[in-house]
């Protein structure tokens, strides 16, 4: 007998500050006005998605010493938008990246606990650690952390926030007007945390929220990041949406769970994925090629090459061959405020490989950047996309996908209208929300479930 079909989890990533988002399309709307967020969130909820996701960036990106102006620039505040979206949706999970470096645990914990109350249990936190002094210039505490302290601070930040979430148990508020007892216990919310990075004590002032703790996401890919996620995250926002890489990552991370005393289903793997739909596979393929050219203009191609070369390449013709000079191996200085720069750990090797590929295929700089960087994850007719997406999940590439449309705010509409019904027909995606909280949607236990079970058993 074949194993039962896995249920797919789907999420919607509001189009971000990067060149995936095509702002030059006449259909592209505001990425700031709340009406765009409302449109996007309602589409995701209409399609019964698990959650909506907002990314964060705390300093405008710069390249060559100037604010980068080729992509969408600017975004609203994550917490504020998520809380407002709780007013225009009823079930959709509300997830946001919040950097642990430029915040303190008490403040972030009270914001997430508040969001969880105000959304009736739909909050999720993608815990990110940044450490660049460049972003730190916008904050009191600055941003620099020595390499060896980055994950230790992130780990302690999250564990401290969890201590704050857990400082209320949920039964403290009696609010009996007849006896006059509002609290059962004057020390409700008491906490003491003495650690390497945080030395705090007192009383947390947000009582227990519906989910107990927000759902915790983690996005790191390093050995430390994978361990961090295996130890305490509910889901990983991964970057591996292809068959082989995805399966390798999935297996690696899921195999770590047992060592942390956790079950296979207690950590979901959800890669980001892009898609292009058409009436036929051919139409979709043609549209995908056109979108990639919109995403990578000649100017954008030069800027992306500069990430590897770490040099000003503005004198090069994007329609011409790759530079024959080698990358500057000094401290990376050309682009600031970007995560992807760190992806090129060996710029000389990358440059060599790119030159060889460009020469072999007769590619220009722009062709090269398009071909190496931005091929969409799922391209085809709705049937093709539904088939492949389901096949990937059943093959343990992931537990679902965080879809990143290229258009704001309507980029999810066609997917919702055409692909989701096909997944529902196959019985691999919900037709109605079964629960009310994001933990319900993701099949995650309430954090008190184990403790309650232990209490009942004892």
């Amino acid at each position: 007998m074949s194993k039962p079909l896995k249920q797919i989890h789907l999420a919607a990533h509001f189009p971000g500050v990067n060149n995936t988002t095509v702002w030059s399309d006449p259909r592209a709307g505001s990425h700031i006005e709340f009406s765009s967020f409302t449109h996007f969130a309602r589409t995701a909820e209409r399609a019964k998605f698990d959650f909506l996701f907002l990314a964060e960036g705390l300093r405008l990106r710069e390249q060559g010493g100037q604010i980068y102006d080729l992509d969408v620039v600017g975004r609203p505040d994550t917490f504020t938008v998520l809380s407002a979206l709780a007013a225009v949706t009823e079930r959709l999970g509300l997830a946001g990246t919040i950097n642990s470096t430029f915040n303190e645990p008490y403040e972030v914990a009270r914001q997430f606990a508040s969001l969880d109350h105000l959304s009736d249990g739909r909050a999720a936190w993608n815990v990110v650690t940044s450490w660049d002094a460049f972003t730190g210039e916008n904050f009191r505490r600055g941003g620099f952390l020595p390499q060896e302290e980055r994950y230790s601070r992130a780990r302690e930040f999250l564990s401290t926030a969890n201590e704050l979430f857990d400082s209320w148990h949920g039964d403290e508020i009696v609010a009996d007007p007849h006896t006059g007892a509002f609290l059962r216990d004057a020390r409700a919310g008491a906490f003491v945390h003495k650690g390497q990075h945080f030395d705090i004590e007192g009383q947390f002032n947000v009582p227990r929220s519906p989910q107990g703790r927000p759902v915790i996401f983690q996005a790191g890919d390093s050995e430390e990041g994978r361990e961090f996620a295996a130890a305490g995250a509910d889901a990983i926002f991964s970057r591996y949406s292809t068959l082989d890489e995805g399966r390798a990552f999935y297996t690696d991370v899921k195999n770590r769970l047992a060592r942390h005393g956790r079950g296979h289903d207690q950590l979901l793997i959800l890669p980001a994925a892009t898609f292009v739909l058409g009436d036929t596979d051919e139409e979709a393929g043609e549209a995908a090629r056109e979108i990639r050219r919109q995403q990578v203009s000649g100017a954008t191609a030069i800027k992306h090459l500069e990430f590897v070369w770490n040099r000003d390449l503005s004198g090069y013709d994007p329609d011409g061959p790759l530079p024959d000079i080698d990358p500057d191996l000094g401290e990376h200085s050309i682009a600031r405020g970007r995560a992807q720069v760190r992806m090129y750990r060996d710029p000389l090797a990358t440059a060599r490989e790119w030159r060889e590929r460009a020469a072999a295929n007769n590619w220009s700089i722009r062709d090269l950047v398009i071909e190496t960087g931005s091929r969409q994850s799922f391209i085809g007719s709705p049937a093709t996309v539904a088939e492949k997406l389901n096949a990937y999940v059943q093959a343990d590439v992931s537990d679902g996908f965080i879809l990143v449309p290229h258009l704001t705010p309507g980029g999810l509409d066609v997917f919702a209208d055409t692909v989701v019904p096909l997944l529902q027909e196959r019985g691999v995606f919900r037709t109605e929300y079964e629960g009310t909280t994001l933990r319900d949607h993701l099949g995650l236990a309430h954090p008190d479930a184990d403790a309650a079970g232990e209490r009942a058993a004892s």
Binding site: R75, A84, E104, S114, R184, I200, N205
Partner: protein, 408 residues
């Protein structure tokens, strides 16, 4: 009055009215009253309902209290009491949650500026302005509590007892906190202006999304922090959302004068009101904001009933429940809506442009304001019959400010 023309209320102009929302109301036993919904104070439905009620009364705005520690009946320390409302939600997030459900009323959450990042607060209030399409403000508040400092662990603050408030050492510590608050507001405001209104150009021809010459580093350097900028959030719909602060003495009056669009003060009679109004306007004239309009609202705690004896009796009953007579920094009014209307119109002759009423019991006194006081004021031609503007600045007669960085 200064020739730099702070906002001078004309006696015939309509009053501005706000309500201050906190838990079940400002009386510590308010949560025990009928209709108080004490088990729903942490739900969106509760806040949506009471702010909808304020909007039904066509009030200018609501404020939402906040703090970085549990509520306490003591000024400087936790009180370990279990007979009063304890626990609250982040006020900015309450404001954002309610904004899409309302259309006209201004929403002004409290933000503690002592332990928090001006960069985060600036974009949060800018975003509140977007989600409310131009109805956001903020009430900035300092925290001098040791227990709240210990929640952050970044620094210690001096323990100040209320009875020592006027010693030079305490005044110096308080002055420092308010100076930092002024720096905080300065950063918040510069960040709001760090994008010019037309910075987003979406020029398909040149491939540029923004004109980066219309974005500005703010390069703020102060004693407590430096902030580079620009903001990640474009300039909000109002340009500068409303900045408000409460003051009881000269040091906070100075913050109102140099940083705020609107101040709340707590006089106990028209003479005191006149003196405070004069002090703040005189201070204002010496600041960089001289000439910018400044609203000064009187704060009052209100117990409203159709019969003055009923209002007094209700207060006494609540005091009995609480175990002690209710006291407040603000004047406590008990009486009828008509008596309150008379009082407000008398007090405003001292130079107040409006009032922020603190309902003793939200379930009772908020509807008494919207359904009792408001009609009384209308009868005296002193309150609006419909919302006349779509932004909070508009309701308050404040212009949309020019951008400090715009050169054209």
């Amino acid at each position: 009055m200064s020739p730099s023309s702070p906002l001078i209320p004309s006696p015939s102009a309509a009053l501005h009215l706000a309500v201050a929302l906190d838990g079940a109301g400002w009386h510590p036993a308010a949560w025990r009253e009928p209709g108080a919904r004490p088990r729903e104070l942490l739900t969106a439905a509760y806040w949506a309902d009471i702010i909808a009620e304020a909007e039904r009364g066509l009030l200018d705005f609501v404020t939402i209290e906040d703090g970085l520690g549990l509520q306490s009946s003591r000024a400087a320390d936790p009180d370990e009491r279990t007979d009063q409302v304890r626990g609250r939600l982040d006020a900015v997030l309450i404001a954002a949650r309610v904004a899409p459900l309302t259309r006209h009323i201004g929403i002004v959450p409290t933000a503690v500026v002592t332990h928090t990042e001006p960069f985060h607060l600036s974009k949060a209030i800018a975003t509140l302005d977007y989600v409310s399409t131009g109805r956001a403000g903020v009430r900035v508040q300092i925290s001098a509590r040791q227990n709240e400092a210990a929640h952050f662990g970044r620094r210690t603050v001096q323990h100040i007892r209320v009875e020592d408030m006027h010693t030079p050492r305490a005044q110096e510590a308080i002055t420092e906190l308010f100076d930092e608050a002024a720096d905080h507001v300065e950063v918040v405001r510069r960040l709001w202006d760090s994008w010019e209104d037309d910075a987003e150009i979406r020029s398909v021809a040149t491939g540029r999304f923004i004109d980066r010459d219309r974005l500005h580093y703010i390069d703020f350097e102060g004693r407590h922090f430096t902030v580079k900028g620009p903001s990640i959030t474009p300039r909000p719909p109002q340009g500068q959302p409303l900045v408000t602060a409460l003051g009881h003495q000269t040091v906070p009056y100075r913050l109102i004068a140099r940083s705020a669009d609107l101040g709340y003060i707590t006089p106990h009679d028209p003479g005191q009101a006149r003196a405070i109004v004069d002090e703040i306007h005189t201070e204002r004239a010496a600041t960089a904001r001289a000439g910018e309009p400044l609203h000064l609202f009187g704060d009052l705690v209100v117990f409203l009933d159709d019969d003055p004896a009923a209002a007094r009796a209700r207060k006494e009953r609540l005091d009995d429940l609480a175990g002690h007579p209710f006291t407040s920094d603000a004047e406590v009014f008990t009486g009828t809506p008509a008596q309150l209307a008379d009082l407000l119109l008398e007090w405003r002759r001292a130079g107040l442009t409006g009032f922020r009423l603190r309902p003793a019991v939200i379930a009772h006194d908020l509807p008494a304001i919207t359904r009792g006081l408001v009609p009384e004021l209308r009868r005296r031609d002193a309150f609006r019959h419909s919302y006349e503007a779509s932004t909070l600045r508009g309701l308050l007669g404040l212009p949309r400010p020019a951008n400090r960085y715009a050169t054209a």
